[in-house]
Symmetry: C2
Subunit: 403 residues, 2 copies
Amino acid sequence: MTNVREIAGAITAPAGYRAAGIACGIKASGKPDLALVVSNTPASAAGVFTTNLAQAAPVLVARDHIRRTGGQARAIVVNSGCANACTGEEGLAHAATMARQTAAVVRCQPEEVLVASTGVIGVKLDMSKVCRGISEAANALSGGGGSNAAVAIMTTDPFPKETAAEVSLRNGRIRIGGIAKGSGMIEPMMATMLGFITTDAAIQPPMLHRALKAAVDSTFNAISVDGECSTNDCVFALANGASGTRITDAEYDSFVEALRGVCETLAVGIVRGGEGATKLITVNVTGAKNDADARMAARAIANSPLVKTAVHGGDPNWGRLIAVAGRSGAAFMLDRATVRIGPVELFHEGVPHDERSDEAAAYLRHRDISIEVNLGADGDGRFRMWTCDLSAEYVRINAEYRT
Amino acid sequence: MTNVREIAGAITAPAGYRAAGIACGIKASGKPDLALVVSNTPASAAGVFTTNLAQAAPVLVARDHIRRTGGQARAIVVNSGCANACTGEEGLAHAATMARQTAAVVRCQPEEVLVASTGVIGVKLDMSKVCRGISEAANALSGGGGSNAAVAIMTTDPFPKETAAEVSLRNGRIRIGGIAKGSGMIEPMMATMLGFITTDAAIQPPMLHRALKAAVDSTFNAISVDGECSTNDCVFALANGASGTRITDAEYDSFVEALRGVCETLAVGIVRGGEGATKLITVNVTGAKNDADARMAARAIANSPLVKTAVHGGDPNWGRLIAVAGRSGAAFMLDRATVRIGPVELFHEGVPHDERSDEAAAYLRHRDISIEVNLGADGDGRFRMWTCDLSAEYVRINAEYRT
């Protein structure tokens, strides 16, 4: 195992990064809505993006920049309060302007800037506010600004998501930091909402991309709040090499493991702060024909409104778990299936154990809930997902989001 | 067009049928919980069933009976309040006993009885109550009992679903009647919850089966309350020929059209009475590459919690419709896509028209809402689905269903 230690400092914990988060007036509330993250030197860059076919302008621009530079970047600029999605040619021009303006203040090429936006779909950015904001953020950049950036990318998030880790490798020490946001429209097919990772490791762009994809697959891509894949999902990683520690094939697995840990902390934070969420639910599917089947069943359970309301109400309703597993499309054998709510086995190889309902109901009073469904299929496929309960508060938030 | 006229009488409107609905004590509330529908003579029978791999005992027994008789039946017996699902060998024996007891009182073979159950999963039937109930229901059978049967199959349904039609064909008149139930765990993959259809047409079992499948595909299989396909879904059709009017190839299309109308009335009734529903939403997807793509996009929209909460809150949030269409898996071209809420075009070929938001918001105050999304793909594929809004009441109902 790699030696990984959690540290403070978020996205600015690794050496050679500065960040800022300021309010430029996009949000009517006056809350922070513009974040800037800058690497002091050119960094390897990788990104994973939403698979939604309605892609927001910043997604198109950021992907294009990574392609054109071959995976090099100096800065990430992000606004919240407006998704700049479904905004046509004008939206594309706005995203390009954000990159150009950022490049001017941090003195790099526009292609070395990655752009992201989050907020309401179909609304145009007020570019005079955004451009003033970028200048202001550049003046506010500091080596301790990671937490401010984490706050400035929030929309309906109840709290910021940030983490950082120091990793001891065979050939030296590196740090990895990250921030993320996301509260609704969360079921990434590729990456979820916004996540930004920095590291002072030295790693070539193709290897950084491979590591990011591997880490995201079992973290950001394994969470759901409401089964909705957004138009703006993306996760960027920057690696500037400031630690002097190089990641080669020998260190690759350790690097991925550490990166995975940072991504998991952020992804689980997104679920914990899911719209209206009162409980974090870890869904473990086992006994599947293969991992793909396990993922399919876990996804169905994590998105089931009947499962999510039952957990919300503290009802150990194993029947709903069986019903969802049965309709999920995964191979499933009722006679060999098993359901556990926490440590309590309520259904074992086709036989109900309702005499244990009270024990399971007591367990469901916790904030962090674990559910395991063994599909009873011939195989050892497994997958873990994180989701949250479905509350009346979710309905209130989303019935009133724009009004 | 076939001449179809709506008439009273529900499932007993066609000639030669009697029905009853009584309370036998399965429901703690003392409400009606056992329904019996009997054809005075042997009838052609067809059934479509849930595709959930966790199939309830009555589903297994009813399917087996239709297979063994080659599509002949005399009676349908249904209990509510207990799904007899995930109940193992004992559950299968209970479902078989329900058929045997019914056969004894209506004087037919057990295989000529179709069995259905609905209610909580994983609870065993109290067979002494059920058997007493079947005898009592047999004594209560009457030619006007269709509405009582419709009430006795309800669980969380806010109102009974029943309809009947008289159809003038080239060669005579027939009647078709039906009842259905379903309020939660509704997104059939084959049929939804429980639906029972009678007709006095004379039609051979294979043709009846074909007609039922065709009618169900665009009605019961085109509705969703919460995207949950249950363990007990089934629709049965009985045709006893008492009208003396025979359905052959010449009348087939007219018969399907009339059957479709009856199924649509029942299916839309299920959505209107969906758990916590305050609005009926008709989702029309057009401009799809093909009908399969249109169905995929319609299903994603109909199950989207963000779309359903927006309609609940009266928010003409076309951005959520675009986001869902884009992630649905269907071919989608943002630049050519169009969104209409009622008569109001809010997004036309990639361009937002938010100046029409107030008009759309006024439209959303209606109880019956229509939404159209043109995917802008090369093709004329289309599909229509019905769904309902998502309210805090849905959460309350399902957080407290068993507790």
